[in-house]
């Protein structure tokens, strides 16, 4: 054979790293893209990006150290950097998991204890010599952190639905395979530089790392907005109203299919039946508020009443006379995002129809807008 195993191994491992960096980039990119929606759960994309980015950089340092560095002093620095980067990645992701957002998924106290325990490996990588066995003591903690992160990911899948669930499943599968590659590669990799004729280790290591990163990349591409858990359970009803005529263009009752509807929701449904009250009442509130607060150029976005919220969105030209009302229980950022999505879809579909509404009779209007039901069902499928 004219090519050594090293020349076969290295291109593939660098390609794996390129895939890994692409995946980390996608997470960060989608975080920045969804950032303006101000949905707290989206931060997970930022932490995923940082976690995978730092971990891959750690692995890259390990490869550079094993294959290209001969100076003992620089080798020591690189060995410490490998552990340092992976530990920082683990602690950062654990820090994010410990937030209140995930208290239903994983025990935050346990997570905090785990973060605290990571102080020991941090100290060990600075005080021990990389040539000693004690130096590799950090592996135990890193393994526990990774295992904990896997449990978190598994629970996250259980609590999610829709498109995001599929993506999380891919990320979980990719993570499991990537960890497997680390297990295969971690101990023998450092020896591979000297034992290049060892395809039994090199081939499974390359296969698992590439496959793991490819699956992770597939999970990261077009990652949707991460809406809060159970956000759909809060929805009560939606009204799309023509401000000029005070007439309803479209309405949707989210509770009609709910199995365990409580009394407070039921009482609101009775109110919902009176569309006129809703539309005229809302316009009245908007007018009063605008006059009292002297805020003609600003619009009311939210009204809270007891445990309920009324979210408002306004159409843009040419449908600026249309406004969207969403009745929800409690308060969630995801509900606002949901209403904005409805507004955008409605605008896209009916922007040419709205300007001629005055020429149409009531039954024609009702028939035109009833087609929006299909779109509504599609929107409801997200997450």
């Amino acid at each position: 054979m004219t090519v050594e195993l090293r020349a076969f191994y290295l291109p593939f491992i660098f390609i794996s790293f390129i895939i890994g960096y692409q995946m980390a980039f996608y997470f960060l990119y989608y975080y920045y893209r969804h950032r303006e929606r101000k949905i707290e759960l989206n931060k997970i994309l930022l932490y995923y990006g940082i976690f995978f980015g730092l971990s891959i950089t750690g692995c890259l340092f390990d490869i550079i150290n094993d294959f290209y560095i001969t100076n003992i002093f620089i080798k020591d620095i690189f060995a410490r950097m490998v552990y340092l980067l992976v530990l920082i990645a683990s602690v950062l992701i654990l820090y994010h998991i410990s937030s209140k957002l995930y208290k239903e998924i994983i025990n935050p106290t346990l997570t905090k204890i785990l973060i605290f325990m990571n102080i020991f490996p941090f100290i060990s990588i600075f005080i021990f010599n990389p040539a000693t066995t004690e130096f590799h003591f950090a592996i135990i903690f890193i393994s526990i952190d990774f295992l904990f992160f896997l449990i978190f990911q598994f629970n996250l899948i259980r609590f999610s639905s829709g498109k995001i669930k599929k993506r999380l499943k891919l990320i979980f599968l990719g993570s499991v395979i990537s960890y497997l590659s680390i297990i295969i590669g971690s101990i023998p990799v450092s020896q591979l530089a000297n034992q290049m004729n060892n395809p039994i280790i090199a081939i499974p290591y390359l296969t698992t790392s590439s496959l793991g990163f490819i699956i992770l990349l597939l999970g990261a591409i077009k990652f949707p907005v991460f809406l809060e858990f159970f956000w759909k359970q809060n929805l009560i009803s939606l009204f799309i109203i023509n401000r000029k005529t005070l007439k309803k263009l479209y309405s949707y009752n989210f509770t009609s299919h709910a199995k365990d509807m409580n009394d407070s929701k039921k009482s609101l449904i009775n109110i919902n039946e009176s569309i006129k009250l809703i539309s005229q009442g809302m316009i009245g509130i908007i007018e009063i508020f605008t006059a009292v607060a002297e805020t003609k150029d600003k619009k009311i976005q939210k009204i809270k009443q007891g445990g309920f919220s009324i979210l408002l969105e306004y159409g843009e030209e040419p449908i600026s006379n249309i406004f969207f009302i969403l009745l929800v229980k409690g308060e969630m950022d995801s509900n606002k995002y949901f209403l904005t999505t409805i507004k955008n879809q409605f605008q896209r579909m009916y922007k040419h129809v709205i300007p001629i509404l005055e020429f149409l009779d009531g039954s024609s209007i009702e028939r035109i807008f009833s087609s929006f039901d299909t779109i509504m069902k599609n929107i409801l499928r997200m997450n």
Binding site: T2, V3, A7, V353
Partner: protein, 365 residues
């Protein structure tokens, strides 16, 4: 030193072997990745016009990566020079097949000089390539480089000139110069990079030239992919000038809407026309026993019928392009989506269809 570097001996060995393999396998990876990315994009959004060019570019990338795989096997792993020659010719043949698919798909989207002109030229050269392979195997390499690559270059040049001189695109696109930069630099880097990896130039500049060539190809592929990814908003404007008029008619033959994009002919009864058009569609459906897209071609004019559940969209245009077909299908689907419940129980009120004018303006103008 220069002389030493210039002596390229196959299979490639020595200090350049490892960095070259790394860079060239990265070229394969990027070409494969972009190829699959564009192919998946095409499969997901099959009914969009821009996808024809994305599909074309996916073939280009896939062919490029396959060619490179065979290229690497022959240059690094094969010691017998005759087998190496056969493998190299096989690599060029693969690239020619995928190149043909690329040009064919590009020409499906728009016409360059004459319909499928480049596809035809490419097929002729492919036949000559095969004949050459049987007669003189040692010349196949030169033949492929000087002919098929030259067709590619002419095709790309023509395409680039067309894109850069399009006034409409200049007007519509904000980042027009940036898109042009992506296209030009992608073309430049890919071609220079490819040239540097060829046997003739490798012998002049040595393996360092080949290494630089691999880096150039990676840059070129990234730029071209960025261009084709962002092109979706640009591509729609090529076919718009080809459309004459559009008719939206009920299955019963009643005309819902008509629009003439050019000067309207006198003494032409639209009500009669729509009835006649509907009859044509019914006859075609009866003959073929299918309710699908129908195309009637006459020299210089084409009529495309797109039946929906309740309506038929008829486009009169200069040429039958797939981009026009897709647009018409999307348009009919959009109208039926908005007016689904109205069309189902239509009472003859035409006022309700007034917004079609704006929808047509949005889709076709």
């Amino acid at each position: 030193m220069f002389i030493m570097l210039s002596q390229v001996i196959f299979p490639i060995q020595g200090p350049f072997q490892e960095p070259l393999l790394i860079m060239e396998e990265i070229v394969i990876f990027f070409a494969l990745e972009f190829g699959f990315l564009f192919l998946i994009k095409y499969k997901i959004k099959k009914e969009e016009i821009s996808n024809l060019q994305e599909k074309a570019f996916s073939w280009f990338c896939l062919g490029y990566s396959l060619m490179y795989i065979v290229y690497i096997i022959s240059d690094y792993y094969v010691e017998d020079s005759y087998i190496r020659l056969i493998l190299l010719d096989f690599a060029y043949f693969i690239q020619m097949i995928f190149g043909l698919l690329f040009i064919y798909n590009m020409e499906k989207f728009q016409i360059f000089f004459k319909k499928f002109l480049f596809t035809f030229i490419f097929i002729v050269f492919m036949i000559l390539f095969v004949i050459c392979a049987f007669i003189a195997l040692e010349f196949v390499h030169t033949f492929s480089f000087f002919f098929s690559w030259i067709i590619y270059i002419i095709f790309f040049f023509y395409y680039m000139i067309r894109v850069s001189t399009s006034k409409q695109m200049k007007k519509i696109l904000r980042n027009f110069k940036w898109h042009l930069f992506q296209l030009y630099s992608g073309f430049f880097f890919l071609n220079i990079g490819y040239a540097l990896t060829t046997y003739v130039i490798s012998n002049l500049f040595g393996l360092i030239g080949r290494l630089i060539g691999a880096v150039f190809q990676i840059i070129g592929l990234i730029f071209l992919s960025l261009y084709f990814l962002s092109i979706s908003s640009i591509t729609e404007y090529f076919w718009r000038e080809k459309i004459d008029s559009i008719y939206i008619i009920m299955q019963s033959g009643l005309c819902l809407y008509t629009k003439h994009f050019r000067e309207k002919r006198k003494s032409f009864d639209e009500i009669v026309a729509s009835g006649a058009l509907s009859s044509v569609q019914i006859i075609l459906e009866l003959i073929t026993e299918t309710k699908d897209l129908s195309i009637i071609e006459k020299e210089g004019k084409t009529m495309i019928f797109q039946p929906g559940e309740y309506i038929i969209g008829v486009l009169v245009c200069e040429e039958d392009l797939e981009s026009i077909r897709i647009t018409l299908k999307n348009f009919v689907q959009k109208i039926e989506k908005i007016y689904y419940n109205v069309l189902r129980t239509w009472d003859g009120n035409l006022n309700v269809f007034k917004p079609i004018e704006d929808i047509i303006n949005e889709v076709f103008i």
